[in-house]
Each structure stands twice: as structure tokens, then as C-alpha cells.
Symmetry: C2
Subunit: 488 residues, 2 copies
């Protein structure tokens, strides 16, 4: 090609990029108006230019409505949280774009090639990724997945150039050099990963050798993804159902609520069990087992008091009680599981959720805070989420605190007549009470569809609060003993 032709071609490319950037800047405002969130995942080889590609994509964007994260997870930290946690906690809110400078692919592949995880775990990671991406897509997120490719020779040249310059040599890590030496193994692993995760959200491979061409191609893909998304409007995924191994649950109506305990027996047992749970907490901490305890139940069923008894001898440094109220604006503007992802415990810690993600299939369903498709899809999404937790190694305990309507009425009246407890009783509680049959139906469906073998529901008979407290303590202790490989 003559020099002149080359220059002309370059100028055309520049003009094309400029026009695409303007389109993207315009689309950004439309995304904002439409409340559509966008995730751009940029994976690729070390030194392929992921960072500068992102720099070229964002340079005309309004910084108020996008973000860039590079959640590189060192090996030492990885297991303190579930595999997908560093990514899930960063998803953008409606109307915003988030660029991931390498993400779940790099993490899965590196951990596998470093042998930090087994082949089986790798398969679990791959499956989690497809679940995660599908859940985001079904929740209305636009996803674009790019892989920036360079060949081994080009990588060699670039790594060398980076290392020869004082101001950039720090950019080349040991891991990068290792990748370069093991180029072939990495290539196979990348291809395998892309093959296994390209069905729901496809991969796009970009040639990184010419930076400008890569920028142009990425801009084309991104503007196209957004254009199509804007045309189609917010996507709401169809309900679906995977066959999880389930535990059969009784209907709430069939539950015998007569069990009760004498004061003396209760006090004795309570002390003993609390002490035992305190001991186990040490062991759980030592073995780095994460514990997720979920409390759901009727208003006035006694969740608060039950939680206090459970937490009594836990080390306060190692547990959090997480009260779940109606979502705040910044929570409403993201996929509904986000605010739970961000509250997961570190391994070795307890997170005790006072109400949970099951709000989706109870109050949100009944009050119309989400569409029918949304809550119908949620059963499976929640099962997937909880499986990701148990695969990480978490003990997941789910307690449904059960009372009958008469007991609730008694307790409501008692609250109303006790000045220091009146604040606990709201108009909403009375309104919810009127919908008891609808709630009961929803709860029965929830228990039926989400009591998986790895994270089964436990119904806690709480007409007698003392009995309920002892039961949750026993169940917790027994689950932890099993996880720790210990017996009482």
C-alpha cells in the first residue's frame, strides 16, 4: 500500500471513530432517559490494550453516567467471598454504563490454570457465569462481552516495550509473564471458556494488533447493542425452571403449632445451646466457613427476639445482623439481588438476614412492585444464587417463623397496648394482615419452589416463642457441626 493510501485510510478510520463516539455520547443520554443499564466486559490477553481500549470508548462520555472497574482478585482474597462477588457488587444502576477491565473470565481461567480450583469447581464457575449473565439480561441489563486478542509475537513485543520503560515496567506482572510463557495453554482455556459461556450472551473477539481498528470495532458493537436495546425497550426475561434437587415441604396450614416449652427447661437449654454456638463460631472462623442465616416470617412472629437469642454468644466481630427494609432508591435501580450480594459475609463470618431476597416472591409479588414474569423467574434465580453460595462453601440456613392468625392478633393487640412497643406496629402491619390468605398462598409456593437440598427451608413453630428459639439454635448448631465435621 502506498503511503498516501495508508494515510487516507487512517483518516477515514479516525473520522469513523469520531462519528461513532458521537453516536455513543448521544445514546448515553437515551440510556439515561430509558433507565437502561449497560455492562461492557473487556477481557483479553495481557498487554492487548484492554485499558486503553476502554479509555478510547469512554472519552466522550459524561462521567456522571459511567464507571470503570478492574476487580482483579488476588489468589489470597478470592475465597473470602464467592467467585462472582467482586463483579456482582459492581453492577451499574439503571441508565448507567459499567466497563469491567477484565472480569469473571480472567478470574476463572487464571484460578484454574494456577490450580487454585479443581476442574469440577471450574465447571461450577462456568455455570455460575451463565446464570449470572442470564439473570442480568433477564433483569433488563444490556451486556456486551469483548475479548481482545493478540498473538504470541505481538504480546512478546509489547511486554518487552513496557518493561523497558521505567514508568510502565510495573505494569508487567509475574502473572503476565507466566501467561506469555504458557500462551498455548491460556489460548485453549480462553477458547474453552468462551465456548461454554457464549450462548446466552455472545462473545466478540476483537483483533488488538491495530489499536484503532479495535476501537472502531468495539464502538460499532457497543452502539449497535445499545441501539437494539433502546429499540426493544427494557427486556423482561421469561420464567423458567431448572430441576434442583428439592426437599418436600408441608403446606403452612398443615403445620402443628402446638409445640411449647416450660420456662425452666427453656432457660437451661438456651444457655447450653448458646454456649455451644459460641464455641462453634470459633471453629467456623478458624475453618473460614461462611454462614448465611435467613429469617422470614409473619409480622409479630418473633423474628427479632429469635435473632437476638441466636446471636447472644456469637463473637460480635464475626457476625452482622442485616435488617432488610424497603429498598432505597439506589437499590431499586439495580437488579434486585444486588443489595444482598453487597451484604454477604466474609468467610468465617455470619450474616443474619432479618428478611431477605425472598421479598421478591412475597411482598413484591403481592404489592405489584415487580412484574409477574419477574417474580415467577425469581424462584429459579434465587435457587441459583443460593447454590452459588453453598458451592463457595457457605452454610445457608433459611427459617420461616410460623404463627397462626390468632396469635398474630394477640401480639398486635399487646403491642398496641404497650407504649414502648407501639412503634413496632404500623398501619402496614394491619394491611398485610388482611391479606393473610394471599400471603399464605405465596409463601406455600415459595417453600415448595425454593427448598433445595443445599439450602432447604425450616419451618419454625413460633406460637410459643421459646420453642422457636430453641429450635433455630438446634438447627443452626447441627448444620455448623456438620460443616465443621464435629458432633455435639
Amino acid at each position: 500500500m502506498s503511503k498516501k493510501n495508508k494515510t487516507e485510510e487512517e483518516q477515514a478510520l479516525r473520522a469513523e471513530i469520531k462519528a461513532l463516539r458521537e453516536t455513543l455520547a448521544g445514546q448515553q443520554m437515551q440510556l439515561r432517559d430509558a433507565g437502561l443499564p449497560v455492562i461492557v466486559l473487556v477481557e483479553g490477553w495481557a498487554a492487548a490494550g484492554k485499558g486503553s481500549l476502554i479509555g478510547e470508548l469512554i472519552c466522550e462520555l459524561d462521567p456522571r453516567f459511567y464507571n470503570v472497574v478492574s476487580p482483579v482478585v488476588g489468589p489470597q482474597r478470592a475465597d473470602r467471598y464467592p467467585f462472582l462477588w467482586p463483579y456482582a457488587k459492581e453492577i451499574p444502576e439503571n441508565g448507567q454504563l459499567m466497563f469491567y477491565d477484565s472480569g469473571w473470565m480472567e478470574c476463572a481461567v487464571r484460578r484454574y490454570l494456577r490450580r487454585e480450583i479443581t476442574g469440577e469447581q471450574y465447571q461450577e464457575y462456568v455455570r455460575s457465569v451463565t446464570e449470572f449473565e442470564r439473570q442480568l439480561r433477564d433483569g433488563g441489563y444490556l451486556l456486551l462481552k469483548l475479548f481482545l486478542r493478540i498473538d504470541r509475537e505481538e504480546q512478546k513485543k509489547r511486554l518487552r516495550a513496557l518493561r523497558e520503560d521505567f514508568s510502565t515496567e510495573w505494569r508487567v506482572t509475574e502473572d503476565d509473564l507466566w501467561q506469555h510463557r504458557e500462551y498455548k495453554r491460556f489460548r485453549e482455556a480462553y477458547e474453552d471458556f468462551m465456548g461454554a459461556t457464549g450462548e446466552t450472551v455472545p462473545w466478540h473477539v476483537l483483533e488488538g494488533e491495530s489499536r484503532r481498528t479495535a476501537v472502531r470495532d468495539a464502538l460499532k458493537l457497543l452502539t449497535k447493542t445499545i441501539r437494539k436495546g433502546l429499540e426493544a425497550g427494557r427486556y423482561v426475561g421469561e420464567p423458567f425452571k431448572e430441576d434442583f434437587p428439592m426437599v418436600k415441604m408441608p403446606r403452612l396450614r398443615e403445620v402443628d403449632l402446638s409445640p411449647a416449652l416450660e420456662d425452666g427447661e427453656y432457660e437451661k437449654e438456651l444457655k447450653k445451646l448458646q454456649r455451644r454456638l459460641g464455641e462453634l463460631h470459633n471453629l467456623v472462623y478458624r475453618k473460614r466457613i461462611p454462614v448465611v442465616v435467613c429469617y422470614e416470617g409473619w409480622d409479630a412472629a418473633g423474628k427479632g427476639g429469635n435473632i437476638r437469642r441466636l446471636a447472644r454468644n456469637l463473637d460480635p466481630r464475626g457476625f452482622d445482623v442485616i435488617p432488610i427494609a424497603s429498598p432505597e432508591p439506589h437499590e431499586l435501580h439495580r437488579q434486585y439481588l444486588w443489595r444482598f450480594w453487597t451484604q454477604l459475609p466474609r468467610s468465617g463470618h455470619f450474616a443474619i438476614f432479618d428478611r431477605t431476597w425472598y421479598g421478591r416472591v412475597m411482598v413484591e409479588r403481592l404489592e405489584g412492585y415487580c412484574t409477574e414474569k419477574d417474580w415467577k423467574r425469581a424462584y429459579n434465580e434465587i435457587n441459583e444464587f443460593e447454590r452459588q453460595l453453598t458451592e463457595w462453601g457457605a452454610v445457608v440456613l433459611k427459617f420461616w417463623i410460623q404463627i397462626d392468625p390468632d396469635t398474630q392478633l394477640e401480639r398486635f393487640n399487646a403491642r398496641q397496648n404497650t407504649p414502648e412497643k407501639q412503634w413496632k406496629l404500623t398501619e402496614e402491619d394491619w394491611r398485610n394482615r388482611e391479606k393473610w390468605p394471599q400471603y399464605e398462598e405465596a409463601i406455600d409456593e415459595m417453600l415448595e419452589k425454593t427448598s433445595t437440598k443445599n439450602a432447604p427451608w425450616h419451618i419454625i413453630e413460633s406460637n410459643d416463642k421459646k420453642y422457636a428459639r430453641i429450635k433455630t439454635l438446634r438447627l443452626t448448631i447441627s448444620a455448623l457441626e456438620k460443616a465443621c465435621g464435629e458432633k455435639l
Copy 2:
């Protein structure tokens, strides 16, 4: 003492604790109603029982309204953020209690004794602590600072017991053993720290040898602190003023806004400076220098475009643009600097604030979102905050983007007449415009009172946006070169 007497005494103590716990549980609801936040700092010797003391304090509390954190900062992470950052980002919101299981005292003392910081830095830490505590108190927080004491013999006994039990031996760290060996040095350091930080918020030393007595005493102190706080109502601190070395600023009216640049010169200079800033970013990253860039200015002054030009060649992995809008509810319910503490950059990174904490002395002042005492106090509080940043090692750049009213009107009209820019213009912008003289007065006062030598204001003449962009780039480059010890 006879056995019988002892038992009687113990029973009396138990009863006393029970009564105090009930008082505390009742107060918790009053705190909630009054919207008063409480911080309980529990410092003390290793194995003195800080954790279990907190466990005893919280066991009757409603978990929705309190939290426990133990922000232990390892030496390696410490400098990635300012000294107070791990604590400042955890302050409770109104109506909530937060328990710190050791905090700023332990961190300062250990870092000093480990020689990770110099004596001068230690003094800076101490001063920062007094500033931090005063700011919280003046912002309406109730603070209780406890130090749990045990003598060397008792510590020896406890450490041994912990180490002899498999389930607890992990609790004894190398640091704890080192503390035990160096008991005397630690005692002196603790005493020194308490002496230097006890004036604004006093310290209370509790004897940790008898756990029950310590619990009783802590409960007494806590319920008393809360009772007095509830009686007095939310405290609003008096304005005050420390003499910071200042840079003299001109009045806005005196600023000559005629400087402008030709297109050709601008383009050439822009490219050159952007490239240079990109290089410096590498160096800044390598030297782990944190960079905080603050943009303030009139509506339509050109902040957004200016920021985009500044960020153009920065590595997207290493900077964040942080748009500051009106605070969300969870932000409003905490001290006003909290939402900025949580957004500080890691060392080596840039945080570019599109509007800042200066909202306190501009919009919040003029719209009555805070009291007169609040905004008058804020000048000094902000100077302290920024000094903490620069002592950490941050480069703090503050740009006031200046235009005149005519230029603003032109740009407002242009926005109104350009469909894709209309969203940028709101009713509020027009309302603010009407208050130009009041804003100008507030801004002049702000520039005068917060242009400290360590973090001076730069007025950026932006009637010509090109000139403004070049000027902020130059100022940024020159500040970074100085910090890196490099010249252009």
C-alpha cells in the same frame, strides 16, 4: 469474704446489669425517634475482653439499629487510604449505634511502636483524631470512649488460656504476643495517647479483670451518655477557626475573564499536555501518590467538558469521576463529610470530584439545608479534612471554574435551543441564576477561608472553555511533577 456474701454480691451485680440492659434497650428506641447517632469506641489491651464486652452490651439491643465493626488495618494496607478512613467510612447513621472493637487509638499506637510512622506522623495522627472526634460531636454524634485495662499478669494468664485451646488459639496473634512482651512501652503509649486525646471527648478506663464489673460499668457509662444526649437534644457545635497558613485569593469580581486561546494552539497544546498527564499517571501510580481533584463552578461553566479533557489520557483503571448530586437519604443521615470519605481514591489513583464537600458552604448554606452554625463551622472542618488528605500524601487540586453572568445566560440559551442538550438545563439552574449575588458572596467567603497552602484554590477563567481546559491540565501536571519530584 464468705462464699454466701460473694454469691449475694454476684446476684446483685447480675440484677444491676439486667436493669441497665433494659434501660439501654429502651433508650435505643428513643435514640431512633430522636435521630441521634452513637459511637462507642472500645479500646484496650489484647485479651482484655473487648469483644465479649461488646457482646454483653448489645445482647438486648434491636439488631436493626446497631452495628459492630472491628476495622483492624494491617500494616500493608494502611497507606492505601488515610489513617482515619477505615473508621470514618463506618460512622453510624442517625438513630443508630456503632460499636468499634478497637479503633484509631490501637492503630496509631501500633503503627508508631512498630515504627511504621515517625514521631511527627504520630503527632499528626493524634491531631487528626481530636479533629475527627470534635467534628462528629459538633455534628450531633454521641461519643463514648472506653479503654479496657488488664495488668501484665492477667494478660499472661489469658493469653496462655487462649493458646491452650484449639478453638481459640488462632485468636492470639503475633502482635498480641509482642504487645505482651512490650507491656510497659505499650502502657506508656496508651497513656500518652489518652492524655493527648481526652479533652474534647473524655476517656473512661474500665478494669477488665472482672468481666461482670466491666460490663456493669460500661452499661452505666453508656446509658448515662445517652440519657444526657437525649435530654440535651442534638448538639450543634459552635463555629471556630484555626489559623491555617493561607493563600490570598482575589474576589471573583476582580478576575479578568478575557484570556482565550486560538483553535490551533489549543489543539496542539491539548494533545501535548494530555500525553504528559498520561505519563505522569504511570509515575503517580508507581509512587502510590493519591490524587484528589475537586471541581466547583457555576452552572454551565464547563466543568463536564473540562473533566473529560483532563481524564482523556488517564488510565481508566486508575481514576474515577465522582459526580456529587443532592445527597440520598442514607447520606443525609450521616455527618456531611461521610459520603466523601467513602469515595476517596486509593493511593496511586485519581478521584475527580464533579462538585464536592464545598456544597456545604454554598448550596446548603443558601438553601437552608443546614444551620448557620453548621456552615460556619464547615470552613475549618473542611480545612482539617483536606489537611488530613495532604498529610496522607495526597495531591489535592481545587478548581473553581469561573464565568460571568452573561456567558452563563448565553450557554443556558444555547442549551435550551439544542434538543440533545436540553436535559442539562433545569428549572433549578434558572433559580440558582437568580441568586447569583448571594452565591458570589458565599463563594468569595469560601475562597477566602479555605484556600490553605496545602490545598489552595485555583480560579479557572472559563469564558473561553479552551483556555480553561489548558489551564487545569497545566496546573494538574505541575502539581504532580512537584509531588513526583519530576520536571517537564
